[in-house]
């Protein structure tokens, strides 16, 4: 608009006002702390993509000490809960078909004889593959059980090990615990959601209440006005992030293997990108309800396509492209890289650069769109 002087100092009264309001806004403050805690508990405890306690049937046609020992080992892995014995494969098909069980262990009649004679002893695990997570867990659990049993037998006999070779070597998360993988992601999802929603709603609220009109007839600088709205939320974002890190540490034993300083530094770009997006939302919508709806609409692809819950590698290529448009996709790699793998700037700079790009573009766009006139 005008080529007047930049009144950067107007940021100070704006910040003073925002913090004064925030201090009184008990509800928002409660949400700041409550949402991270609830999300952490919800996602951390409820989303267990590692499946344990698979309801399992036993068809023991061998009925020997060896077969019973194998079942005991399977049970000990914690992956399998034996829920019953059956006498035939027909029964297995029936129970799995009804959903009464998800897996069955079949030990053939010749099991002990094979073991004793050094031939490869085979037991079968039948899995309901309709649930790929459960079946994956069952397969790896069975493999581990077989390997464990083979090792026991080999050690006892002092002979060459029983011919069973299974390698499961999970990196970074040996226990295959989902929480370790999920919790860093929660930081990203949480920041995306709260930052976009809070910012868009805060600006729209000023417009709805008529306070924005009163504010823009003052000589306040447009950029100062927007920064004044954003900076308090940046602080809130950091509080939320720290809270999840601390709770994640206490409750889920999530490690911090890399530099926290680096993480907090890169996070500025991510938060600012989301705040910019929130401002952009606020320039499009006309009511707080719309702002909320649009923010939630934005949340879904973030959860589904960023790699937060489902590995991006498994997605169809167009979905991956879409995921590339989300700041969260890059931030998740940074979060997991720093927290779980101890990665540093050398490995993560491309993702960091992408975030800076998002931040610059989104804030520039929203400042452009946000006009100091009301029409």
């Amino acid at each position: 608009m005008s080529a007047g002087t930049i009144r950067a100092w107007t940021l100070w009264p704006m910040l003073w006002k925002e913090f004064a309001q925030l201090r009184r806004d008990r509800f928002t403050l409660a949400m700041m702390v409550g949402i991270p805690a609830i999300q952490l508990l919800l996602f951390g405890y409820a989303i267990q993509t590692e499946v344990r306690h698979i309801r399992t049937l036993v068809l023991d046609e061998s009925k020997t000490p060896e077969s019973r020992a194998l079942i005991a080992v399977l049970t000990n892995t914690g992956d399998f809960d034996i829920v019953g014995s059956v006498a035939s494969r027909v029964e297995i098909a029936d129970q799995i078909g009804r959903g009464a069980a998800q897996a069955a262990v079949v030990i053939p009649p010749g099991f002990m004889a094979d073991l004793r004679s050094g031939r490869t002893a085979q037991a079968q695990v039948i899995v309901d593959a309709a649930d790929p997570l459960a079946s994956g867990a069952a397969m790896s659990g069975a493999a581990r059980a077989a390997a464990a049993r083979a090792a026991q037998l080999g050690a006892r006999a002092g002979a060459p090990p029983v011919p069973l070779e299974v390698r499961v070597r999970p990196w970074y998360n040996p226990g295959l615990r989902t929480a370790v993988y999920i919790v860093p992601g929660i930081i990203g999802v949480l920041l995306s959601m709260t930052m976009v929603m809070i910012t868009s709603m805060a600006v729209v609220r000023e417009r709805e209440r008529g306070t924005l009109e009163q504010l823009i007839v003052t000589p306040i600088d447009k950029t100062a006005l927007m920064l004044g709205k954003l900076i308090p939320f940046l602080v809130i974002g950091y509080v939320q992030m720290s809270l999840v890190l601390i709770l994640g540490r206490i409750l889920f034993d999530v490690p911090v293997r890399g530099s926290l300083l680096l993480l907090y530094g890169v996070t500025v770009a991510f938060i600012v990108a989301n705040l910019g997006l929130g401002l952009l939302v606020s320039t499009v919508v006309t009511s707080q309800t719309q702002a909320m709806q649009l923010s939630f609409f934005f949340l879904m692809p973030n959860i589904l396509l960023s790699g937060f819950m489902f590995p991006r590698e498994a997605m169809p290529v167009p979905a991956q492209w879409f995921g590339d448009l989300l700041p969260l996709t890059y931030y998740l790699r940074i979060l997991r890289g720093i927290l779980l793998k101890g990665a540093g700037g050398a490995q993560l700079w491309p993702d960091g650069l992408a975030l800076v790009g998002f931040a610059v573009i989104l804030v520039a766009l929203s400042v452009r769109r946000f006009s100091k006139t009301v029409d």
Binding site: S2, G4, Q21, T211, Q214, L215, I220, T373
Partner: protein
Amino acid sequence: MTSVPVSPSLPSSPAPPRPLAVRTVALRKVFGELVAVAGLDLEIREGEVFGLLGPNGSGKTTTIRMLCGLLLPSAGDATVVGLDVRTEPEAIRRRIGYMSQRFGLYDDLTVAENLHFYGWVYGLRGAALTARSAEVLAELGLTEAAPQLAGTLSGGWKQRLALACAIAHRPAMLFLDEPTAGVDPASRRLFWRWIYALAKQGTTILVTTHYMDEAERCERLAFLSRGHLIALGTAAEVLRQFGQPTIEDVFIELQRRDEGAIV
């Protein structure tokens, strides 16, 4: 649609003509198909209490918003306190105060905090800000309400606070858009006492109102109807022009014409 030229000898204005605080030339605002203001020519002198009247939708608020830099004119020109609304809106903002129809202050800040914030935004700070805040609070009888949250004030007190925030920076010109809507008579009377006091100190006042007694308190009036200026002058002059006994009758006559035009 004839606009009456500014009368050369206003009974209420002193002999040497004061400089212009507002000047609009063919000022126009269009929203899509709707012509909100259809080429307005207005001149308001410094220190004048000028009333902008007209039925709802006649273009009063749109005019004020253009003069305050909240809306860009679609055509025509306007200067406020000698500055162009198109090219110098920020400089204008520093020299004007504005009270909108709706209470535009922060309900979740106290009276003192609202005033502190607005004074600061307009460039007051430190001891000057503290002193001026105390002064304005005292002037408008708000000192005791200072620690109260603005949201808990009643209508009349909110309006006082809005006035306080609008004048803290001693603006050269004050825009009041239906400032007394929904306010009790006693508060309105008090409000107008402050308006006159400000005008006496040289502040130009542009006020829109629906209240007839308030219209009669203005030095000059402009009547708008459907975006056009249809009468201009002192209250007595306007009455003569319309051949009506009271301003209220002028209003009703206008409304009748508007509705006739629509049908």
